[in-house]
Symmetry: C2
Subunit: 311 residues, 2 copies
């Protein structure tokens, strides 16, 4: 079974599923599994570890012959040389985020790359269209990660953007299976982005403690932190530490990421902040990426049939 949209056509992928560019996690082991399963694997830069990231981009060529992309998290990148590096490596797809889309779009498109910009609201979407991006990743507030403090849920944001722009939209935030992919398409999207679902996959390099916490979590077990700044807001797994941060705030949110290696790969979830979306409350088992994608497409078809049955 195949689903063909402007997103699959533009990106040359089989399945309209893009992997979130999760800092430290979206490296070649996981991203190649996504690309090999027919989705779009993305290498992250939000960790700011550009030397490691460059190695990972090179490694991707050995691990997959399918398309993959790189995320340029503008606020987290101090070396603009990454742009030229991505171009030189022959990467064909870039997502830009956490910054003004005017900054790199022309350069990237001039080099022949396809550029999707990540936006948290309509104003950002219209700005990105003006910048000439090829597509948008529209990110609802229910998703994990760094967020706009004025969060808007996917159910509102995705249709709002889709009815105002003509370029293809990828829905992010709350997406993890065929039901949610079908909902995103109903709202006007032509692709979906999955973060927490892929983070908790078999191929994900994160510590089993985090995967277990996601499997155990209720939908109410995330917190939205730092809404008043300074620095970005974010959605994360509820732990003792993040519950305290939710109540007391944090004078320096970035300081909370100093021991991220211990959280993500050492399994000490109280050593920092584990960025996680609300879909943690729906994830009940670890699965290989390919199985996640196959089940998603199969369920998408079933959902269409069920919806037809009401009319």
């Amino acid at each position: 079974m195949a689903i063909r949209t402007r997103v699959t056509d533009m990106l040359g992928i089989e399945k309209p599923i893009i992997q979130a560019a999760m800092g430290w996690i979206a490296r070649s082991q996981l991203s190649s599994a996504v690309s090999n399963a027919g989705g779009m694997g993305i290498i992250e830069t939000s960790s700011g570890e550009l030397d490691a990231v460059k190695d990972e981009i090179v490694k991707m060529r050995q691990l997959t012959d399918k398309p993959f992309g790189v995320n340029v998290a503008q606020a987290f990148i101090r070396d603009p040389g990454i742009i030229q590096f991505v171009i030189d490596q022959g990467v064909k797809f870039v997502t830009t985020s956490a910054g003004d889309p005017m900054k790199y779009t022309a350069t990237l498109k001039g080099a022949g790359l396809t550029v999707f910009h990540v936006v948290p609201n309509l104003a950002g979407a219209l700005r990105a269209v003006e910048a000439g991006v090829d597509g948008l990743i529209v990110e609802g507030g229910e998703g994990g990660g760094f967020k706009n403090p004025k969060d808007v849920a996917s159910m509102v944001l995705v249709p709002l953007v889709c009815e105002r722009v003509n370029i293809p939209v990828v829905a992010a935030g709350g997406i993890m299976d065929g039901r949610t992919m079908a909902a995103a398409f109903a709202l006007g999207a032509e692709g979906v982005l999955m973060g927490t679902r892929i983070l908790s996959s078999t191929e994900s390099p994160v510590h089993p403690n985090w995967k277990a916490a996601i499997i155990k979590a209720e939908a109410t077990d995330t917190v939205f932190l730092n809404r008043k700044g300074p620095g970005p807001a974010l959605r994360a797994l509820r732990t003792e530490r993040t519950t305290r941060l939710e109540t007391e705030g944090s004078p320096n949110i970035f300081g909370e990421f100093a021991r991220t290696q211990e959280v993500y790969f050492g399994g000490d979830l109280e050593a920092g902040i584990a960025l996680t979306g609300q879909v943690a409350g729906r994830i009940t088992e670890e699965k290989p990426v390919r199985q996640i994608f196959d089940e998603t497409l199969s369920e998408f078809q079933q959902v269409l049939m069920r919806m037809q049955s009401f009319t």
Copy 2:
């Protein structure tokens, strides 16, 4: 065109659209317009004005011969006599909310009424099923009104509940048109509830200032207040006053509703709190209820066709 689900069958309505039981607003003028347009009009009790509410229930009989319901907002009702009054009036459908579904379900069902309970999370849904309700109204955090402080977005909550219960689910929060109704159905719902969209309809009794503010609002122009209590959390229109409450908090959230008449019907949006959902950011004009519903069903069909075109 017709859409038939367990919700339309159970409630005897033409269109699977239920009107939110908005305090002070969901009275006979508006609710009869909803019922006459083929949806399910609901008379509110969350205002606590039980004498007025009783008159409104009686008036509904004169204004429509279609089915209508009453909401029993348990936390706001001091006189349990309302239950018997609703039964005596021959009302066939009740939604219960803001309280334990064990309290009134047996009495209401024993009298032959159909009972749907409003829930903000999975635990509440499972409790309501245990209480024997006929259906659920599953309310995502993007919706306006009084909310659970641990809010979960519709994109996550609706499928979470739908895959765990066998009774029909009505999705609330973010719903205002055919795209969002189709998304709700994709997630597993068999009906939708609209609040802000109906609040801003032609037949709505609220002051034009509020309708104008909704039409002007961006999707980021709501605030989520009182997450830490005491009293309920809520989502409301962003104004100078509510922006201040968002930052400073409120020692007595109910005190903010002392001048609700002036806010809702006098048009002074700074005199209190105007409960409003994020869909305010998508509403661009005032429309009659019948037009809203007809366009919703027509767009629902178009969405199904568009989704099919991708496969």
